[in-house]
Amino acid sequence: MKWVGLIAVLFTGGLLLSAMDDFPNWGDAHSPANASPVSQYFIEKTIEDSGVPNMVTAVLADYRSYDTMFETVVVLIAGIAIMAILRVGNQIPRGARPAPVSAPASVNDDHQDIIIGTTCRLLIPVLQLFAFYVIAHGHHSPGGGFQGGVVLGTSFILAAIAKGLDPALERLPETRYVKIAFVGVVIYSAFGVACLLLGENFLDYGVLSVLLPTIDAAEARSHSMLGVEVGVAFTVSAIMFAIYANLASKGELEGGL
């Protein structure tokens, strides 16, 4: 089996490596990928179309908004799938399950450590504030809904690691994080439906300027991007915490790492 695998891998890799000479040079500004009209349009017209300096955010949340919406749905479905998979056949009584192989009792009982507790109490508010900054400032600096959402989810994961899963789940129980995840997708699609109702294409934010008379179409695009990034952040943060909480406790949401 190892030899079959090795031959298959070497054959594929050899074919790819032999094709590498036909590739444009690394850093070539006029390679087909970099000189394509689509990429050049994004670089040149972003500031005119929406006034957002960070092109990555503009392409993510405006030009390729449809794509991003369904990426968010994929993350949501993955989170729901993890909860479903881990709970299949969990109706077995507790004593009949195989005992965990590597669970020293001291790990679970040692959540009162003063250094870890104090560090986390100081660190978690800063992390959450930084997450909101990353979400809100994604137009002008690296960041946006995905990154800010993951940082926000990480702050809950840190609380779960430091203080145990149960205190973290008291703050963010399962009914609540599932609701938050769905609310994020609903926020995102609500922007698209609002555009539809105002007579434009789905997720074509320019038309939303009629709702706020003081802004023009470019500003409407900029503000709508912030709105959909908030939706993305809701879903991603809730699902990241859901993934950790379920995987660390085998879907039972008690005990944990």
């Binding site: 990555v56 960041g143 990480t154 790492l257």
Partner: protein, 81 residues
């Protein structure tokens, strides 16, 4: 991008990838995989892909290492290969 840094990081990448697949302790493999993610995050920051680097730093080096370790904790540490 400074190509000397690029080459050094790429060589370290291959080394950490091989180590994380060769080591027999799955907890160590997960930790080395976190290192791999952090190195590739450095590489992307150097190539000018700052948003991708930020995402990789939070997701790759943070979440995926943590969920791998959570699974290793709930299953077993030793591996046959």
């Amino acid at each position: 991008m400074i190509w000397q840094f690029d080459i050094i990081i790429l060589i370290f990448l291959v080394i950490t990838a091989v180590i994380s697949l060769r080591v027999k302790d799955l907890l160590a493999a997960s930790m080395v995989f976190g290192t791999y993610s952090f190195l590739i995050c450095l590489l992307w920051a150097g190539m000018g892909a700052v948003d991708v680097a930020f995402t990789e730093a939070t997701v790759g080096a943070g979440i995926s290492a943590v969920i791998l370790i959570a699974t290793v904790y709930n299953t077993r540490r030793d591996s046959s290969d």
